[in-house]
Amino acid sequence: MALAPANPARFATLAIAWLAYLVMLAPIAAIVWLSLFNSDIIAIPPPGYSLRSYHSMFVSGDFIASFRLSLVVAVGATVISVVLGTLASIGIVRGRFPGSGVLASIFLAPLAVPAVVLGLAIYIFFFKAGAAIGIRIAGTIGSLLVAHVVLTLPWTIRFTSAGLATVDKNLEDAAMTLGAPPVRTFWHVTLPLMRASLVAAAIFAFLTSYNALEMSLFLVGPGMTTVPIVLLQRVSWNFDPPVAAMATVQVAISAVALILLVRLVGAERIFGVQRHD
């Protein structure tokens, strides 16, 4: 569509939109650019371009270890918080008991607490609890997983509740009059109809956990760090093309997840925007 000169308001809107895209995307483009430098230090203009930073990243043990840990924790937290979120949404959406509204707010409360505070609180809790029962909890992979479930659960509850609310209660009633007990009704009717919101919840939980930095800071132990923390440590010491390569991989994984989310669920459902056709 050609821009009509008679419509300056529309032109201004588009200009601002493109400027916003530029501000958001330029740093990412810069990181990708830096990661391709054929050099150990950042020097502009670069001496040349190569994939040597990526190679050194993949042979470095600490990156592979942190990548594996991030993945294990993110996948684990995703599975647990989608299952818990789905169960919670049944209570919130379908249950009618006194205090269900309050409960729904409590489930979303972690969103209101800064992740640093949440991380510190969980660390102190695990430390004290561990000391009380004589088992080390703080600094274990289990403690990190639990913390990430706390971080992701409010999001999965949001998505699964919204998804369940769109499932016509009559469909469940129909299934029950046709002989399906509640669990089978949920499995054969409700759950398949919530699929889009389950996918959205899972991808969103994965992204939240995989990129979590502040909360994890307190909870990782020696020799057990996640990718964002490795990145932070490396950057505070020295910013070089291998770090840019790690950042690029991190961005790529998030981008793939986001593209999947939009393709499978649709942007309008994620942002709650009505599309006018």
Binding site: L171, D173, A180, V189
Partner: protein, 360 residues
């Protein structure tokens, strides 16, 4: 044997009683309608029979078994919903197969039953489609097939025709009734459409504000409404009020209304009678003979409204004694002379005056 016995069922939501002491019986193969305006408790009653709600008092028996406390999946009653509630993620065939699958019939055992049922409702060719690809009438057929394939003791229908357009609704009425008779399945049908209830049912139960007003066959209901409400609700009868005196009802305006029926009240008691518009005659020219005038209910009136309804004219009149009355004037080819403002004589036979129980 009664397929369904509802006995003294009561359901309260908060402080308000949605259904109060409702009892009725449906015999095997009988088509029973629950008829009433919205909020009368008919759907609540139906949902209690299905097991989706549990009564606060009373019992429900299906095929001789007390199911009052049983969950829906352990009762032999399937419900067809107003919006059909077809499973959108399943094909027509999968929808119909669902109930059999849940009851442990699958594969070779279920296939012939599903096929026969799809044939019966004429949806065999579309068995691979999804509900969103079907018209309202087709969805309706699938919903029926899905409920019938499990061979329930009682088929429950919650306003299943109300989402269809007028023409299709008429067709589905006939189709549904024929299907019901062919399968000889006990059916409870909830509707707010009196015409639908009269056309389809063996028996109609008129409900109002949670209670049963009358339980009768369609003809009985139409010809002998028990209450003021039923008379108005079924076929919109003229309802005239007055005081019983010497076997006739005397209106406040002095009109003496004769009836063949025994007056329900003693002299001086307040009373209400109903007269069907199709039984009220309108004489525009020739005065009635003396004999007729002595025998019939006769009143002079002024036409206030004449509305053409195809097979008849709906004629609204104000009697000179003050009452409003409506008559259905059957029209042959010539247009009757029913100009508003003209004076006419109205009359009807005493046997068409039906004493009813007044609204309290």
């Amino acid at each position: 044997m009664a397929s369904l016995r509802v006995n003294g069922v009561t359901k309260e939501f908060g402080a308000a009683a949605a259904v109060r002491d409702v009892s009725f019986v449906a015999d095997e193969g009988e088509f029973v309608s629950l008829l009433g305006p919205s909020g009368c408790g008919k759907t609540t009653t139906l949902r209690m029979i299905a097991g989706l709600l549990f009564p606060d008092a009373g019992t429900i028996h299906i095929a001789g078994t007390d199911v009052t406390a049983l969950p829906p999946y352990r009762r032999s009653a399937s419900l067809v919903f107003q919006n059909y509630a077809l499973f959108p993620h399943m094909t027509v065939r999968e929808n119909v197969a669902f109930g059999l699958r849940m009851r442990g019939f699958a594969g070779d055992h279920a296939a012939p039953r599903i096929r026969d049922m799809l044939d019966l409702v004429g949806m065999r060719e579309l068995e691979g489609r999804y509900p969103r690809q079907l018209s309202g009438g087709q969805q309706q057929r699938v919903a029926l097939a899905r409920s019938l394939v499990v061979q329930p003791s009682v088929l429950l229908l919650d306003e299943p025709l109300s989402n269809l357009d007028a023409k299709l609704r008429e067709e589905m009425r006939v189709e549904l009734r024929l299907l019901q008779q062919r399968l000889n399945i006990t059916t409870v049908f909830v509707t707010h459409d009196q015409e639908e209830a009269l056309a389809m049912s063996d028996r109609v139960i008129v409900m109002r504000a949670g209670s049963v007003q009358q339980d009768a066959t369609p003809t009985e209901l139409f010809n002998r409404p028990r209450t003021d409400f039923v008379a108005r609700f079924i076929g919109s009868a003229n309802v005239l009020e007055g005081t019983w005196r010497d076997g006739a009802l005397v209106s406040p305006g002095g009109l003496r209304i004769r009836t063949d029926a025994a007056p329900p009240g003693s002299d001086g008691a307040r009373g209400v009678v109903a007269v069907r518009p199709q039984n009220v005659k309108v004489a525009t020219q020739a005065p009635l003979s003396r004999q007729d005038a002595d025998r019939l209910n006769v009143a002079s009136a002024t036409i206030t409204l004449a509305s053409y309804r195809g097979s008849y004219w709906l004629c609204g009149m104000r009697l000179h004694s003050g009452e409003e009355i409506q008559a259905n004037v059957t029209s042959d080819e010539s247009e009757p002379n029913l100009a508003p403002g003209s004076d006419v004589t109205v009359y009807w036979e005493p046997r068409h005056t039906i004493p009813v129980i007044p609204d309290s």
